[in-house]
């Protein structure tokens, strides 16, 4: 390929990337917040600790995963209709701050991602013109107007067995879940936005004669309010007590509110033994009983001030005050350091940098290297870029371990990063062993693909990737042995599939046909990957059985995940024995290695989609799409291999293989 063609291709790619999707436009009447959020404030609020879903996490994490869940993107983009050229990009933290402090504006953001127009029909929302994109965003306000209908259709869908639901029914249920999750956050600071009319002289005296009181102040005098309400006459028109009864009722109702979907913002004060943080509702309850701790009152007041603030400066000050109050208590409980580290982990995003500073440049260098094979420095640079990418990726995995105090893999997301690391490491080691540049060519592809897929999974799954573990998984020993070993086996299986596919494609297109050593080299590498994979897969599978034996009393239960691992072992053992007994040679071996890649994908993901067994993680249309895309791609490669092989076999062997060896010998001079 001539360099000009390459450059043209690159230019076209860049152009395509620059043509981004048009952003949704928002009416100026929704605008509440005039200036963008102060960057320092955003950075500092990002690190605010809170408790949600069973663990203490930074504000930024809650914001990010909620945005991923409802919006399907890592940021929220829009433009005001009167300033259409100025695209506004909100980070998750900024978005959640808008939801809490400018809820009316946030209610109009194009938020909920709808991928199927029929879903809009199902809930009665009118389609906004012909379908332009493959997905649409609707705002909270729009969806809420049709919430009743959505609940009805979701109820019908929910009453069916999981396996009988159609795609649209699954999406209805998902949308219902997203609405609930967002709604909990949207309503969360609701009481702080309202001001309460206080009538009755005794009642007003509690607040220094004020006739309008904010929520935090109401709670500040909670006990006195409750007392007054108890002694007040029942009519509610008494000039002294006024509407204390109604207000008291309202507060009591709030105390009865549920607390499961809502983040708990207030760390417990005094009682070191409890690990449960308090929600606003629980704080209301304790205020009415006169048990509001002074630190909680400070937090409440500063949060109230932030909501009621007149300008951005005052809001910023109040929020910082709130943060300091919470962090002080969290530090005493030893819960702040982890939060700060986690926040930094997400800010640094080492795995993302490994793409841009490592694998993608390495890939471009590799392509360049095959065009200009004699330039040693290109290959050397490619190696170092790949190594840099690997270092960043490993750093990411290690940092995750430190943040969670757990071995590397505890969930499906972790497997992407880990398998990418092991795969790239194995490829680089192979390269160091044989310097054929084939493993080096394959390494950045493997790394980049897996990291990108992992990032896509993180967003489409929309769940906290550091969620606390269930009781049965809570064993660092087994997580560090069985899970690590078997995932290493997956990595080797994918690497073997990639190498085998490379051989098949090269063979099919007749590239470097006479270079026997070259092709044999690839086969040997594939064989090596199979051996490595087999070792880890077999040992990992048996370790899984030993773990199950210690947990549930049975070594092997023919569970779907166990079967998946067994399928990989069987495929690889059969492959090795077939090779040994002469049933397959180079072509058959590489074909089978490619097939083993599909078996690995089946075991890694597909069994989770089957919704049964001890490892069922639940159905996800996006994961299904990803898995089936891989099956299709790999099958295509295998078919090309078969067709190409049949064509190659029917052609006469090209003459003078030795003559072709000579120019390549010089290329194979050691790079270091």
């Amino acid at each position: 390929m001539k360099p000009t063609r390459v450059l043209t291709a690159l230019a076209l790619c860049l152009l395509a990337a620059a043509c981004s999707r048009p952003v949704p436009k928002m009416e100026p009447k929704s605008r509440e917040r005039v200036e963008p959020w102060n960057t320092e404030l955003v950075a500092s609020i990002s690190q605010l600790p809170l408790q949600h879903n069973g663990r203490v996490m930074p504000f930024g994490t809650l914001a990010a995963f909620t945005l991923y869940l409802v919006h399907g993107r890592r940021d929220l983009q829009f433009a005001w209709a009167d300033k259409a050229e100025e695209k506004i990009v909100l980070s998750p933290t900024e978005w959640l701050l808008d939801v809490w402090f400018h809820p009316d504006q946030a209610a109009d953001y194009g938020l909920f991602r709808i991928e199927n127009r029929e879903l809009l029909d199902a809930i009665g929302l009118e389609r906004d013109g012909p379908q332009r994109l493959d997905f649409d965003y609707i705002s909270y306000r729009q969806l809420l107007a049709h919430a009743g209908r959505l609940q009805q259709v979701a109820k019908v869908a929910g009453s069916k067995d999981m396996l009988e639901r159609s795609q649209i029914e699954r999406q209805e249920l998902e949308l219902m879940g997203k609405l609930r999750a967002y709604h909990a956050l949207h309503q969360f600071l609701e009481p702080l936005h309202a001001s309460f009319t206080v009538t009755g002289t005794d009642f007003q005296r509690l607040y220094g004669g004020a006739k309008e009181v904010l929520f935090a102040e109401l709670l500040a005098q909670g006990k006195a309010l409750a007392e007054l309400a108890r002694t007040a006459p029942a009519t509610g028109n008494d000039p002294a007590s006024g509407n204390v009864g109604q207000v008291g009722d309202m507060l009591a109702a709030m105390a009865e509110e549920p607390g499961s979907d809502v983040p708990a913002m207030f760390p417990p004060v005094g009682d070191r033994a409890t690990d449960k943080w308090l929600t606003l509702a629980e704080l209301t309850g304790s205020a009415l009983q006169g048990q509001l701790a002074p630190q909680h009152l400070v937090m409440l007041r500063s949060l109230q001030a932030a909501v009621a603030a007149a300008d951005a400066g005052a809001q910023s000050t109040a929020l910082q005050q709130f943060r300091r109050a919470v962090v002080t208590v969290a530090e005493l409980r030893g819960e702040n350091a982890g939060v700060v580290l986690e926040s930094k982990y997400y800010a640094w995003s080492l795995h993302y940098r490994s793409l841009h500073l490592g694998f993608l440049p390495a890939f471009m260098l590799v392509v360049l290297g095959w065009l200009l094979p004699r330039r040693q420095w290109i290959w050397r640079l490619a190696f170092w870029f790949t190594a840099a990418g690997l270092a960043l990726l490993v750093g990411d995995v290690v940092l995750r371990c430190v943040v969670r105090s757990r071995p590397p893999i505890t969930g499906l997301y972790d497997t992407f990063l880990f398998i990418a690391s092991v795969g790239v490491l194995a490829a680089l080691l192979i390269e160091l062993m044989n310097r054929r540049r084939i493993a080096l060519s394959v390494a950045p592809i493997l790394g980049a693909l897996l990291v990108m897929l992992g990032r896509a999974f993180e967003v489409y799954d929309g769940k906290d990737t550091m969620a606390p573990l269930q009781a049965v998984l809570d064993s660092n020993y087994w997580l560090a042995t069985h899970v690590v070993v078997i995932n290493s086996g997956y990595a080797a299986g994918m690497l073997g599939a990639l190498l085998g596919s490379t051989w098949l494609l090269l063979h099919a297109f007749g590239l470097r046909r006479g270079d026997v050593d070259f092709h044999k080299g690839i086969v040997r590498m594939t064989y090596g990957a199979t051996c490595f994979g087999l070792t880890f897969a077999v040992v990992g599978t048996i370790l899984g059985g030993v773990w199950a034996n210690d947990s549930w009393g049975r070594f092997w239960g023919w569970d779907t995940k166990e079967n998946g691992a067994l399928l990989i072992c069987l495929s690889q053992i059969a492959l090795l024995h077939a090779r040994m007994s002469g049933l397959v040679r180079d072509f058959g071996y590489c074909l089978w290695a490619g097939f083993t890649g599909m078996v690995v994908a089946f075991s890694w993901f597909h069994v989770n989609l089957l919704q049964v067994g001890l490892h069922a993680y639940g159905f996800s249309d996006h994961t299904a799409f990803g898995v089936f895309s891989y099956y299709a791609a790999q099958t295509l490669v295998l078919l090309i291999g078969v067709v190409g092989h049949l064509l190659q076999v029917s052609r006469p062997v090209s003459a003078a293989p030795a003559a072709r060896d000579a120019p390549q010998v010089a290329d194979l001079a050691p790079a270091k």
Binding site: C531, S581, V665, A669
Partner: protein, 420 residues
């Protein structure tokens, strides 16, 4: 061949054999069998079959539940796949075991360079043996206890038995009959049970895998026979097999008087709320007998008392972070306190007790009860040992290959360097 020697005598072209001068057919048969069973191509075929069976079984679990699939595809001898009779995983693995021993151990040369493979093959045969032992010689069930209660038996999940009981004061005598010996036949017609010298005969008239007895009101139509105003409502099979409660109709014929009594037997458990069983009582030959249909009971050689059960959730959620039990095990030397929790079972006298679950899960507790899974498996630790052996063998074998590969690649590069 050196010059001057006579050419060897020509063998008839049709004879494929070159046997020694005393051909004996047993030796021929043995050699053919060894060749057949030790063939590596057979290994590949068997592994391929096992692969296909595992795949069918994995996808089949979605609709049919794991218990049914396990019994039919993985532990059975053969089954129908559409119109095709297909061998189950059990005979395939049995053949694989034979193939492994003959081809992978006996026929291999015991040389240093094969050491890795031999070790691996030894490990895998141990693993297959462990599986066989577990299948045929192991039992498992559950034991649920409220705090402060003790017990020394455990109850099967899936298996039922018919029990004949007699009690004299403080002693109970029982004789059991596993339901699988009559359940299938009873669905087609009456099954006579051989009661030997006992003064009555028993006939099982019907067996229902999941059912519930109900009183027959005047305006209710019953699909099954009514006995004393009670009939049995047939319920659809649950996918989780342990939720099915079996029942059967049984006729007792007193041999001396010829009197026939029919009864419904139902296997519902009241444990852990109530440990008692309620057998159907009848007299024959002047003695009182009881008949009970219950989940198979195994007795433990020691007594277990639950002292305390604790469940901790992740804060603000109901996801269990940890749940564990403190039990007291009665031993001849004295009582022993043991803490049983997830991944940390109690192993004693060949039995293993795991923390499996808790209840009640409908929020009507405390008081809470702890559910233990109890298993007796002679091959309990074999897989762990096999794992070490296999890992060692694989590392030895592939390690050697890796070493030779690196060495070979270095030589190749040295050669090409020398040429350049």
């Amino acid at each position: 061949m050196t010059a001057g020697t006579a050419p060897p005598s020509v063998q008839p072209a049709s004879s494929p054999q070159s046997l020694p001068s005393v051909p004996s057919w047993p030796l021929w048969l043995a050699r053919e069998l060894v060749g057949l069973f030790g063939s590596m191509r057979l290994t590949v075929v068997l592994l391929g079959c096992l692969f296909v069976l595992t795949f069918i079984g994995t996808v089949g679990q979605v609709q049919r539940g794991i218990y049914e699939v396990q019994k039919e595809i993985f532990e059975g001898w053969w089954f129908w796949w559409g119109w095709l009779p297909v061998p189950g995983a059990f005979p395939v693995m049995a053949l694989l075991f034979v193939n492994l021993v003959v081809g992978g151990l006996l026929r291999m040369r015991w040389q240093l360079r094969n050491s890795g493979i031999l070790i691996v093959h030894l490990g895998i045969s141990l693993l297959l043996l462990a599986g066989f032992v577990k299948l045929h010689f192991s039992v498992s069930g559950n034991l649920a206890l409220f705090e402060g209660r003790a017990n020394s038996l455990f109850v099967s999940f899936h298996e039922w038995e018919l029990v004949l009981l007699q009690q004299d004061g403080d002693t109970v005598r029982e004789r059991t009959l596993p339901a699988e010996s009559f359940a299938a036949a009873a669905s087609d017609g009456p099954v006579h049970i051989d009661t030997g010298s006992l003064p009555f005969q028993l006939v099982v008239q019907g067996w229902l895998e999941n059912c519930r007895p109900l009183p027959k009101g005047p305006l209710v139509q019953a699909q099954t026979p009514v006995i004393d105003g009670v009939y049995v409502e047939v319920e659809p099979l649950r996918r989780e097999r342990e939720q099915n409660v079996a029942g059967c109709y049984i006729d007792v014929v007193d041999q001396t008087t010829g009197q026939l009594r029919s009864a419904i037997l139902w296997g519902a458990e009241r444990r852990p709320f109530d440990d008692r069983r309620f057998p159907f009582t009848f007299t024959a030959g002047g003695q009182r007998y009881g008949l009970d249909l219950r989940r198979v009971v195994w007795d433990l050689p020691f007594n277990v008392r639950l002292d305390k059960f604790q469940k901790q959730d992740h804060p603000g959620t109901t996801n269990p972070r940890d749940y564990s039990s403190w039990v007291t095990v009665r031993e001849p030397t004295g009582d022993r306190q043991v803490h049983i929790f997830m991944n940390a079972p109690l192993r004693k006298d060949g039995y293993v007790i795991y923390q499996a679950n808790w209840g009640p899960q409908d929020g009507s507790g405390p008081p809470m009860y702890s559910v233990f899974e109890v298993a007796r498996n002679p091959s309990d630790v074999w897989p762990k040992f096999a794992c070490y052996v296999i890992a060692f063998g694989l590392i030895v074998h592939f390690g050697r290959k890796l070493y030779r590969y690196i060495h070979g690649e270095q030589e190749r590069r040295a050669r090409t360097e020398a040429i350049a």
